[in-house]
């Protein structure tokens, strides 16, 4: 308790110092701010995002930069925390960034978005999927990823029509993202009908032992357990559920396609199904392959799930600056709204009126032989293997 106060005091002092520094003039490189959880439980996802931003900036700089200027990436650690996120956002604003592209947890990204909005900076989110982000009436917030009110119904459809589940347990962690996805899934299941939601509650993130909650879930006898929180807890939940002898199909939301989950859960992870936007390795095209190669040679491991989306978030922002022929935040935001069929590595990107990506795609992954493998996708209302789906598209 005392420690938190102390940390806040230190942060407040640091912030005060930052406020005294004069905002940088609009010459030199174009600065794009990247808030992400660089420390804390979700640091591996955050570091991936920051790394991907770096590669995106270098790729653009290698060509001709933006408006003849280089792009510089300015990262800030938000620890997936609302309070620290706001401080991180203030720091990015104070250091004179012209646009923001990043974020990971919705619980940090949403408060950050209002700081950016207050200072008129455009914000392109790469990973925050909570619907509220783009529903605050801000004309300068965008996202290159789908929304939970698309993912929830997708997951519900999969449970009912592919797994033929009768009893479903939904567990979230009370964070904005996890709660949102859990509620969207519950609503979609109710709408589909014929599925009982036997358990719906939150765990406390940051603990090591979730066996007690899982014992209750087990006694409710579900066919499917859907965890909508993040991978650090999901790994433990998967491991502990199997240890308890839970036979249900385990599913998790799109914050869980992280390789670290497999290391912690070990063999227990096999059979886990994840609803997600397609990962880098399941996306076609030579640009993605080049990105993966570049990332691996630079950082010595595979890019995490959201790195490709961050790459596109930077790309979309740079393209908007080029079209606006200016780095003036308001002009850039206006140009971002005009984004139509931008050719990104995650596919073509167009923003709708609200700033959401049109036609965002979801797929399911399954863990097989300790690896994430592409599983099923929804094509014209039918569940098909992902490989077949992409072939059908190509043909």
């Amino acid at each position: 308790m005392e420690k938190q106060k102390l940390a806040m005091l230190v942060a407040a002092l640091a912030l005060g110092g930052a406020a005294l520094a004069p905002a940088r003039a609009a010459e030199g490189p174009v600065k794009i701010g990247v808030p992400a959880p660089l420390t804390g439980s979700y640091a591996s996802a955050g570091t991936d995002i920051a790394n991907a931003a770096m590669i995106a900036a270098e790729d653009i700089n290698k060509k001709s930069g933006v408006l003849g200027r280089k792009i510089a990436i300015d990262t800030a650690d938000d620890q997936c925390d609302a309070q620290i996120g706001v401080q991180a956002a203030e720091k990015l604003v104070q250091s004179g960034d012209q646009a923001i592209a990043g974020g990971y947890c919705s619980s940090a990204a949403i408060p950050e978005s209002s700081v950016f909005h207050d200072h008129g900076l455009p914000f392109v989110a790469d990973a925050s999927t909570n619907p509220r982000l783009t529903e605050q009436g801000f004309a300068d917030v965008f996202r290159v990823i789908g929304r939970d009110d698309e993912q929830g119904p997708f997951a519900a459809n999969f449970m009912k029509n592919e797994l033929h589940a009768k009893r479903v347990a939904i567990i979230h962690d009370n964070t904005v993202y996890a709660r949102g996805l859990a509620e969207q899934t519950r609503a979609a299941l109710k709408k589909l009908g014929g599925v009982d939601i036997v358990y719906f509650d939150a765990i406390t993130p940051g603990q090591s032992d979730y066996t007690s909650v899982l014992s209750v879930v087990k006694s409710d006898n579900p066919d499917v357990i859907y965890y909508t929180g993040y991978y650090s807890e999901a790994a433990l939940i998967v491991k502990e559920a199997r240890a308890l002898g839970v036979k249900a199909t385990l599913m998790a939301g799109d914050a869980n396609n992280d390789p670290t989950l497999l290391k912690v859960a070990g063999p227990a992870a096999n059979g886990l199904i994840i609803t997600t936007a397609p990962l880098a390795q399941f996306l076609g095209g030579s640009e993605v392959q080049n990105f993966i190669k570049e990332y691996q040679s630079r950082f010595g491991h595979e890019p995490g799930p959201y790195s490709v989306y961050e790459y596109d978030a930077i790309g979309v922002t740079a393209a908007a600056m080029d079209r606006a022929k200016s780095t003036d935040p308001q002009k850039v935001a206006a140009a971002l709204h005009q984004t139509k069929d931008y050719h990104g590595i995650t596919g073509t990107i167009s923003f709708n009126q609200q700033g959401d990506r049109e036609n965002a795609v979801y797929i399911t992954l399954i863990v097989k032989n300790d690896q994430f493998t592409a599983y099923k996708a929804l094509e014209n209302g039918h569940w098909v293997d992902v490989k077949a789906a992409s072939k059908a598209k190509a043909g």
Binding site: A7, S41, G206, Q207, T211, V216
Partner: protein, 299 residues
């Protein structure tokens, strides 16, 4: 009924970790009246040392049981020495100073340890290798892991060992004398600083044992794992009667069970409320804790 049994097993397992950690708090409080906020972080350091040892190549070529024993003992020794060093350089110069300055120093040590490990190991969490057998016995409709029994037994053995050490040996007698009256103990020829250092060594080594066991059991460790755990273990020590060794054991189990049953019969969102609510009630109606009647006799 099977749910009740399951929650009981879960609660005792988690309680074992709290109890082992609470022992360190209670020993140090008993002897120098310091709430050592860095204690949970010493547990974290122990877990990381164990991880480093278990993931190095040299140790992977010996039998699993031997590897675990080596990692556990080396981590306990190294963390024990770290605790001793912390005491020597951070707390000892302040022993005669105000209680507040030493408390703030403990907070500083806690932050230094957390951020030091973050710098050294990176911010993400680390996965322990899966070494323990995942054998589960069906008991009355619940499942009881062989490792859970092992954790409970090992914690109990360590606690019993500590109790006997404090009550049956000369050094243990010196510790208790010091807890009663530091100046009188010094006049009796007891090496006060030496005994305090030894107390830090033992407390930190026990925390390291808990840390390595947590790593092996849950397979997930992070540099922040000590903070919340430390606060709960401290609560356990207060509920049991701070300064009292059997109290720390009982307090740890009480907290573990309270958490498990709240999560099981209400909602895990309420488990913090239950734990800290119990602390408040205890402080209101029985501020010396369950075992805290004999105020004079600490430890």
């Amino acid at each position: 009924m099977s749910l009740f049994l399951q929650l009981l097993f879960n609660g005792l397992t988690v309680g074992s970790f709290y109890a082992l950690t609470a022992l360190g708090y209670t020993m140090i409080y008993g002897i120098i009246r310091l709430i050592n906020f860095a204690h949970g972080d010493l547990l974290m350091v122990g877990a990381f040392i164990g991880w480093t040892l278990l993931t190095t190549v040299a140790i992977q070529h010996i039998p699993i049981a031997a590897a675990i024993a080596v990692a556990l003992l080396l981590s306990m020794a190294a963390t024990g020495i770290l605790g001793l060093v912390v005491d020597r350089f951070a707390y000892e110069p302040l022993l005669r100073g105000s209680r507040l300055s030493i408390l703030i120093t403990a907070l500083g040590v806690s932050l230094a340890l957390e951020n030091g490990v973050q710098l050294g190991y990176g911010a993400g969490f680390k996965a322990y290798p899966h070494l323990l057998p995942s054998v589960y016995l069906p008991v009355g409709g619940a499942s009881l892991g062989v490792t859970q029994i092992g954790i409970f037994a090992l914690s109990l053995a360590l606690m019993l060992g500590l109790y006997l050490f404090v009550h049956r040996t000369a050094i243990g007698t010196a510790m208790r004398a010091l807890a009663l009256d530091q100046d009188a103990a010094r006049l009796m020829g007891i090496d006060v600083e030496g005994v305090i250092r030894l107390t830090f060594f033992i407390g930190s080594a026990l925390a390291a044992a808990a840390g390595v066991m947590m790593g092996l059991y849950y397979s997930e460790i992070s540099f922040t794992m000590g903070f919340l755990l430390g606060i709960r273990a401290f609560t356990a020590a207060v509920i049991g009667g701070i300064g009292n060794i059997p109290g720390a054991m009982v307090g740890g189990m009480v907290i573990g069970l309270l958490e498990a049953f709240t999560a099981g019969y209400f909602s895990s969102r309420w488990s913090d409320v239950a734990v800290f609510g119990a602390l408040i009630l205890m402080l209101m109606f029985r501020p010396r804790g369950i075992f805290g009647e004999r105020v004079v006799e600490r430890m």
